[in-house]
């Protein structure tokens, strides 16, 4: 049985300061669900008073069924060696999120990637709009309703001889006898 004392202590301290939900996932991983307005206060509290001084990553997950993006801020404390993940939900139709550039400098790069790949706006973000892709004027490509297969077939010349290629997911599920669940069938490429 692992000793999860440090992780539980951190979770209790954050929940005493703010009234938010959280969970200890496993050894060295704590997650906290926050609403959009309170993100910078929670991050500043973790950075200045609890020793979580390193922002490791900002990730974005597209929940197209619920109509929201989920942003995850992953912070790390070098003394206690724990990751605390701060998770928020942002509306998908008009995605605007606060710019945390003044807390950590590296957030600038992550937020520019979010702006280009998902279309999330960060007011006050300084940097070129063109970050990785060049001359891109379609919809942001990492969203789930962007069909990359159709776009690739429309834009690039395909050498003939590849029409009988099998979809990887279908082949593996047929071979191992599993069933693709209902919510995932909509994105099958048939």
């Amino acid at each position: 049985m692992e000793n999860l004392e440090k992780e539980n202590n951190i979770l209790l301290e954050v929940q005493n300061a703010f009234k938010i939900k959280g969970k200890v996932i496993r050894d060295r991983r704590v997650e906290v669900m926050v609403s959009k307005d309170m993100v910078s206060s929670v991050l500043l509290f973790l950075k200045n008073q609890k020793g979580f001084i390193h922002l490791a990553h900002i990730a974005c997950i597209d929940f197209i069924e619920e109509g929201e993006f989920q942003l995850v801020y992953v912070t790390w404390s070098p003394e206690q060696k724990i990751h605390v993940m701060v998770k928020t939900r942002v509306d998908r139709e008009n995605p605007v999120m606060e710019n945390i550039d003044n807390i950590w400098d590296q957030a600038n790069t992550y937020e520019r990637e979010m702006r280009e790949m998902y279309g999330i706006e960060f007011p006050g973000l300084v940097g070129d709009h063109e970050f990785i892709l060049e001359d891109w004027d379609e919809m942001p490509p990492m969203r789930r309703d962007f069909d990359t297969h159709a776009y690739a077939h429309k834009t690039f010349y395909q050498r003939p001889g590849r029409e009988d290629a099998q979809d990887v997911r279908e082949t593996i599920t047929k071979r191992s006898g599993e069933v693709i669940p209902e919510y995932a069938k909509k994105y099958s490429r048939e």
Binding site: P141, T148, F156, Q158
Partner: protein, 182 residues
């Protein structure tokens, strides 16, 4: 070799093709992930210098351009510029399955699927990535093609320039490249 044979070459052509195929200067440009196989081909285990292959610093000093792997549209613009700066006779070797039919990234919004429509290619080497022995066999095949006199694609690029340009401009939207007047 008498000059009465059908596919005979003059002595001058024979000597020039022989000397070209035994000293290939490779442009030092790793385009994609296959560039990881180039250092192991050049170093002492699978020695490529015994074939006369060595690296060249600039496009003006190079003979061979290696397209090692996938080409994003951003890289394609720079590769075209490099290819047009190389001087005739020039050869292109394409590594990996991404140049043949798209490979692993065939449904990506950013990578091209068939290299032959944008720059002319002499030899394809398949694999993902080809091993150093496969790379050396590709170079030996290129030497055979040069000796047979089939590698004049640099001049054919200039003749069919409108066709290549039309294909390139369909993909690269912001065309800010110099007009080369060879």
């Amino acid at each position: 070799m008498s000059t009465n044979e059908k596919n005979s070459k003059t002595i001058l052509e024979y000597i020039s093709e022989w000397s070209r195929k035994h000293s290939l200067f490779v442009m030092a440009y790793g385009t994609g992930c296959g560039a990881i196989e180039i250092p192991s081909t050049m170093t002492s285990r699978y020695d490529a210098e015994r074939f006369g292959i060595r690296g060249a610093a600039t496009p003006r000093q190079a003979d061979v351009l290696l397209i090692t792997g996938y080409l994003a549209t951003k890289t394609l613009k720079r590769v075209i510029r490099v290819y047009e700066q190389m001087q005739n006779p020039k050869y292109v070797i394409a590594f990996g399955s991404c140049t043949i039919n798209g490979g692993m990234y065939y449904d990506s919004y950013n990578t091209i699927n068939s290299l032959d429509r944008y720059i002319p290619v002499d030899v394809y080497i398949n694999g993902c990535m080809p091993r150093p022995e496969a790379v050396i066999s590709g170079f030996v095949k290129l030497q055979e093609e040069i000796a047979a006199g089939r590698c004049h694609k640099g001049e054919k690029y200039i003749e069919n320039l409108e066709w290549y340009r039309a294909n390139q401009k369909k993909i690269i939207k912001n065309w800010r490249m110099p007009d080369y007047n060879w």
